[in-house]
Symmetry: C2
Subunit: 256 residues, 2 copies
């Protein structure tokens, strides 16, 4: 199972949109995909049509209760081939609960080891922070996919994120690689977006995916129908671009 | 001094953009304004033209070192009337450092008490989370201003945020009120934005500001010049709308 963390501490750069739509696109390629909602907001679950008020265990329970294996919190979604480990609001308190554990960075990694190869891919939607939850996701992953909005503030945080990836690689997970940087909210109409694209490609070169995700209202509409854009509007630009990204991620080498 | 926290755990809804431009708009009304960058990303500092690599103390030092009063970390910005307490990356570790303190929710409130009425207004730019830092901001504030993007995911988190505000009001800061909900990224062109606007006004009524902030590329360009939109492009829609918001916030009653 290839595990990919979708992470960036900058808020609103498209982490959840990427997790949900990439999962649906991989399923179209007949892969079995596990999506883990690692954000207490629970938006990946919503985007996959899951009703947050559903009772039952979530990823929080598997993290904090050794009696509950992760397989018991995984549910089917309406998309054939996509499975979900939902989050809930309790997840926002888990960082203090885990902080005292001896191997607190490896909790998720140990849970995923139980799954063996029951899935082809696992995508982890991270919250907009670099706390212990995101650290757990990076330690558990083979690759990290970094959505980057083509705006000015988005560039500033990348240095810090890459430093964090280096630290994780050095101390906890030597195999961690960067799957790539995904440019999001691209608008060729604005000088700002074109400028930031150019700067990111000049600065990070090969690390930036060829596929870019343009601003497309269909991507923002789909979650209100509890669907991925792939099923909500298959012909939209958003759907085509996430299908293209799935090809690039699955066939490509990690960028670094 | 009226203290307003700009908060919402949803990432990318316009917290920093609102803090920076509202501060500049208040300064135009001849108010003395203190902006506190309470997000380790340091974007409010960037938006106010502050160079993050500047040495010197920041809000982290005042929070963790009793010898350093907040007045020693406050600097002038290029905007007359706007002052800044910058953040730095150390701020991301402060939650664990403060967690063991007996009155850990009141640390910022105690710091601001030292300032008396040296400023008319204080705006606190919060990070996209509901952790101890944001809790400190809510406990230190008279009002909380909530930017809400007119997208589907944005609606979901509001219930949780309002519950958190109620808890803070009940246990730590009975005077805390909601300044209002500010609709951001408004686009009358899209059905989604119009739909979400309607839902928010129906559901939250008076709590929603009359002023709305439309999507406007000038707002995203201004930070790359290290300026607020008020000085970057005074005639832009973004500048006019933030000037209008400043009037509404300053003259209005808090919404609840
Ligand atoms: N390419 C796009 N075009 C238009 N809207 C988009 C696009 N990508 C995402 N969106 C919308 O923009 C908002 C932000 O995206 P999203 O919530 O996926 O970001 P995020 O990084 O997961 O945010 P957070 O930091 O809060 O977790 C959402 O309302 C989403 O529907
Ligand atoms: N009305 C607007 N029109 C166009 N762009 C905007 C608007 N408001 C904010 N932006 C841009 O959208 C991005 C997100 O805004 P901003 O960074 O202020 O949100 P935030 O809530 O502070 O994010 P975070 O959760 O990461 O702190 C920024 O690049 C900003 O320049
Ligand atoms: Mg998200
Ligand atoms: Mg911000």
């Amino acid at each position: 199972m290839k595990v990919i963390a979708v992470a960036n501490q900058k808020g609103g750069c498209g982490k959840t949109t990427t997790t949900v739509n990439l999962a649906a696109a991989f399923a179209r390629m007949n892969k079995r995909v596990l999506a883990i909602d690692f954000d207490p907001q629970g938006h990946a679950a919503l985007g996959l049509g899951y009703n947050l008020s559903d009772a039952g265990h979530g990823i929080y329970d598997a993290l904090t209760n050794m009696q509950i294996p992760i397989s018991r919190v995984i549910r089917r979604t309406y998309i054939p081939g996509v499975y979900l480990a939902p989050s809930n609001i309790l997840l926002s308190g888990v960082e203090t609960e885990l902080a005292m554990r001896p191997s607190r960075e490896y909790v998720l990694r140990q849970l995923l080891a139980d799954l063996g190869d029951s899935y082809d891919l696992c995508l982890i939607d991270c919250s907009p922070s670099l706390g212990l939850l995101t650290l757990n996701a990076l330690v558990a992953s083979d690759e990290v996919l970094i959505p980057v909005q083509t705006h000015y503030y988005a560039i500033e945080g990348l240095k810090q994120l890459l430093e964090t990836v280096d630290i994780v690689k050095g101390r906890f997970n030597p195999a961690l690689q960067i799957s790539g940087m995904l440019l999001t909210f691209v608008e060729n109409r604005t000088l700002l977006s074109r400028d930031v694209q150019r700067q990111l490609r000049e600065y990070f070169g090969e690390m930036v995916f060829d596929t870019m995700i343009h601003r497309n209202v269909r991507l923002a509409e789909a979650p209100s129908a509890g669907e991925s854009v792939i099923t909500y509007d298959e012909k939209s630009r958003g759907a085509r671009e996430y299908m293209q990204l799935a090809e690039e991620v699955f066939n490509g080498q990690a960028k670094s």
